[in-house]
Symmetry: C2
Subunit: 373 residues, 2 copies
């Protein structure tokens, strides 16, 4: 009996010469599915379970592209097993880079995706036709009074999205709840004056057994969502909390970087911070823009942006949020690179721009509006 | 007012020449704590929050060792924030490898550590004075009848620890519970005959909202614990479940490998699979032995083993479990390298060794007992 099943197709770049490429692809297909010596693979297991090498093509003398298809059932139609299936064990080997995933509708249909996405977040903010402006509460160590002032100035100045710096660390859950309440109150007060609806996303990070209580504090304060670091909390933990509570999720890339630093191994930023974060329900994916303190290339960021905004089953598109050492001078280039449907996340560059955060926010917004006119 | 606080000291290897090393160390200290331009750091924030560069020493012409101390309060005394503090943002940069962590007692004291550890697991098994023998239920795709037979043969042959292959994927939670029940029954039946107490650890992997139900199924079947992949589930999710349910945890390194593949970036295997997994309560840490299908060196494995078994506050020591393509011929070398307090995890090599798994297990155990006599 042959069952027709859905397949997940993974594309890897293998740093192997022509003489070894086909064998290397076969070894990936075995490693990721049955993990036994070839001699123990029966014809039945071979046909039902082992990954199938669809093609191996030369990209360069020492580089080959291998497409391998896996029975989608081996993923359990869930994220932790998908990660294991396409990159679990081979992550510990070398020269195997995952560059694409084709995910069947049977898998995608189990996922709720971003609760808001680009359209939903725009409706919430009532901002259309221009990139969004976001900033962060910094620096870590400032007082709640200073954060209230910063939040209020940013919201009064016309800013859209305010988030905690991902390194903010309150003394405990009660201190977190109190700070979030006060910052959100400052944003709400500014919104009442402007008639706008600037949003505040506090950091969601902490012990696994405290995350529900932190989400309750955030929602209790009237915030729409959180800044969540999926690789600190677990990618599927973020998906679960977002789906359960209808959260707006801005995703932070903390602790993901070893997937990108070695271009012959790991994953592309687009696949991890784009496809996988969107699958986990992230409405906004923050990533380092080229030219700042981090090393992503323009091509990598364009691919990431395309994966966040392009088709992915019925999942809503997510906002790309380039960040990381951006300044006023970068705005025209960012507008060219990312277009209207993007979030410009400017932290220190906005704080340092003018005498006041209000003035800085106004200046950045004027520039952004000028760029899309 | 100056508060005396505990410090976490992180040691990084920076791939930078002498002229840039001190500045690079300072930038790490800023990036990991306040993430703002130098001009925005007030003297107060500098003294209270910014990481302090303790030393920068040349290791080679293009390589420097930097020790940076962080206020332990910035870690929230919890794992997700510890990861963020010592390696969150700099993971996205290049040539910054985290090679050591000195963690103060104030942090360690919040952690329960392994529920069993080396001593507790030996008492449970009633096996002393020799390395433990472990194997995996494979290959993925075999029937439950075949797994029952494999489990029974291994336990009757004198094997100690049986685990699911980490890629096993049952159709759903009910199928998982049924398979676990049947395999544990086969092990229990064998134990009743031998008078021994071989243990079975099923895979704990699945959607975040299903993990509690899976743990309940495992404990309900009479198993002592699980095989858990911390980087698929979230490191602190594993800690939380282990602590809450008193689980025996065998940790699988799936999806961790990008931290190790580029030796100029990431972390050492010892720090991640040793120190951090032990902090998360893993009783056994599985890692690829040199000479198999993966690229860890002997020195890296020795460091990993030392971090699992050496002092770490009041935390119980954990078993190193070298694995990954090991065969009968490797046993003497493994015994030399890891000594008595180790778990030899042999999967395909044991299955392929003899006509029956019973005979194979007996042969491996005879060899292990001979090596420590």
């Amino acid at each position: 009996m042959t069952l027709v099943t859905d397949r997940i197709i993974a594309t890897y770049l293998l740093s192997r010469p022509a003489a070894e490429a086909a064998r290397a692809a076969r070894l990936v297909a075995i490693e990721q599915t049955v993990e036994v010596p070839e001699s123990l693979i029966t014809p039945d297991i071979e046909s039902r379970v082992v990954g199938k090498v669809l093609s191996v093509d030369a990209v360069g003398p020492e580089l080959h592209r291998a497409r391998i298809s896996y029975d989608a059932a081996l993923s359990g139609f869930e994220l932790p097993r998908l990660l294991n299936l396409v990159y679990g064990n081979v992550s510990i080997q070398n020269g195997i880079r995952l560059v694409d995933l084709e995910i069947p509708e049977s898998f995608l249909a189990r996922f709720k995706g971003p609760n808001f996405g680009i359209g939903g977040l725009r409706r919430l903010l009532k901002v259309h036709g221009r990139p969004l402006l976001a900033t962060a509460l910094k620096p870590n160590g400032a007082s709640t009074e200073e954060f209230e002032r910063l939040a209020g100035d940013f919201a009064r100045g016309g800013g859209d999205l305010l988030k905690d710096d991902q390194n903010l660390c309150d003394a405990d859950l009660a201190a977190f709840a109190e700070r979030v309440r006060r910052v959100q109150a400052a944003v709400s007060e500014a919104n009442a004056k402007t008639g706008r609806n600037a949003l505040y996303c506090p950091i969601l990070c902490g012990p696994a057994d405290e995350l529900e209580a932190r989400v309750a504090a955030v929602l209790g304060a009237g915030c729409a969502g959180v800044l969540a670091p999926p690789f600190l909390l677990g990618l599927d933990t973020v998906r679960m909390l977002a789906a359960k509570h209808g959260l707006l999720v801005m995703a932070h890339p903390s602790f993901t970087g070893t997937f990108f630093s070695d271009r012959s191994h790991g994953m592309t930023p687009g696949l991890l911070l784009g496809t996988l974060f969107r699958l986990a329900g992230c409405d906004v994916s923050i990533f380092p823009n080229p030219g700042g303190r981090f090393g992503f290339t323009k091509e990598e960021c364009a691919d990431l942006s395309a994966r966040l905004t392009g088709p992915l089953g019925c999942l809503a598109p997510s906002f790309p949020a380039p960040a990381g050492g951006m300044t006023f001078e970068n705005l025209p280039e960012m507008a060219r690179d990312y277009g209207t449907d993007s979030v410009f996340l400017v932290g220190g560059g906005l704080l340092a721009h003018s005498k006041s955060v209000y003035d800085g926010t106004r200046a950045f917004l004027d520039s952004i509006e000028g760029l899309v006119r």
